[in-house]
């Protein structure tokens, strides 16, 4: 959920100006914001599944330290979505296990 109004930071002035494809679905985003922010804004909280037990994971640190938020971005696995900026048309997939290269589409 995006924060439209804020008592200290005032009203949001940016608008969604990009679209990313997440597991085949279109998700509106703001160019330059971290991918993770766009996903959370769209209510997506599960980013990957762990290799062994297929446990779901989402963001934990949001500053690029914990690697809990990694996904397959434009075919490249293990991309930390909390520190990777959105570009229009990015293709993002939930990462299963260690992820595979080239899992585009």
């Amino acid at each position: 959920m995006r924060i439209k109004h804020h008592p200290i930071l005032n009203d949001e002035t940016r608008e969604c100006n990009a679209t990313i494809i997440v597991d085949g679905k279109k998700v509106p985003a703001i160019e330059g914001e971290p991918i993770a922010a766009a996903l959370l804004a769209a209510g997506i909280r599960k980013f990957r599944e762990t290799p062994k037990y297929h446990k779901p994971r989402g963001i934990f640190c949001a500053i690029g330290r914990c690697t809990d938020c990694v996904m397959i971005v434009d075919g490249i696995p293990n991309v930390r979505t909390c520190v990777t900026p959105v570009r229009n048309g990015m293709v993002i997939k939930t990462q299963k296990g260690l992820g595979e290269w080239g899992e585009k589409s």
Binding site: M1, R2, I3, K4, H5, H6, P7, I8, N10
Partner: protein, 172 residues
């Protein structure tokens, strides 16, 4: 289990702790007109209130961890200190009129409007009465902190410290 009272356990000062804060105005002073009521009961390294008062009514001095001390004689209840306090711990109370007036800092969205009837809460967040919003002051000097004044029955003058939040999670 009995709940222990006091700021360390409940998160807000007990009546006993409030009474110990230096310079807390007595009932007589509150009846005479608006006066600051400082609810800062722990020795923390902080002193913007001291500088904010144009009348020199608040003293912290050295070390900076001293409790702020109010001089209720010097205080005119102007409310300048309310938005300056990063702890949002200063209120202004006025018992000189028919109804009691309480001014407090408020940093949520949306703000209430002047004249609006609102739920008034005590230090624990419990709604205790309803009141009318008399003023909503937003000044650049206050840097986004609004200072709101509500009018409630006299018996709540030492009870009401804020209003129930109006927004809630529906921000979409």
């Amino acid at each position: 289990m009995t709940q222990k009272i006091g700021v360390k356990y409940q998160g807000f000062p007990s009546d006993e702790e409030l009474a110990k804060i230096p310079g807390v105005p007595d009932a007589e002073r509150i009846k005479r007109g608006p006066v600051a009521f400082i609810e800062c009961a722990q020795e923390i390294p902080c002193n913007p209130c001291e500088e904010a008062c144009p009348y020199g009514a608040i003293q912290v001095g050295k070390p900076i961890t001293n409790l702020p001390k109010l001089d209720p004689k010097k205080c005119v209840g102007c409310g300048n200190c309310i938005a300056a306090c990063p702890g949002l711990a200063i209120f202004v109370v006025n018992g000189s009129k028919d109804k009691a007036e309480i001014s407090f800092p408020y940093e949520y969205y949306p703000l209430p409007e002047k004249g609006q009837i609102v739920d008034c809460v005590d230090r624990s967040g419990k709604t205790v009465t309803s009141g009318k919003v008399l003023r909503v002051i937003k000044s650049p000097k206050y840097d986004q902190t609004a200072v709101i004044t509500v009018e409630v029955d006299q018996e709540y003058i030492n009870v009401v410290r804020s209003i129930k939040r109006l927004g809630g999670p529906e921000h979409e």
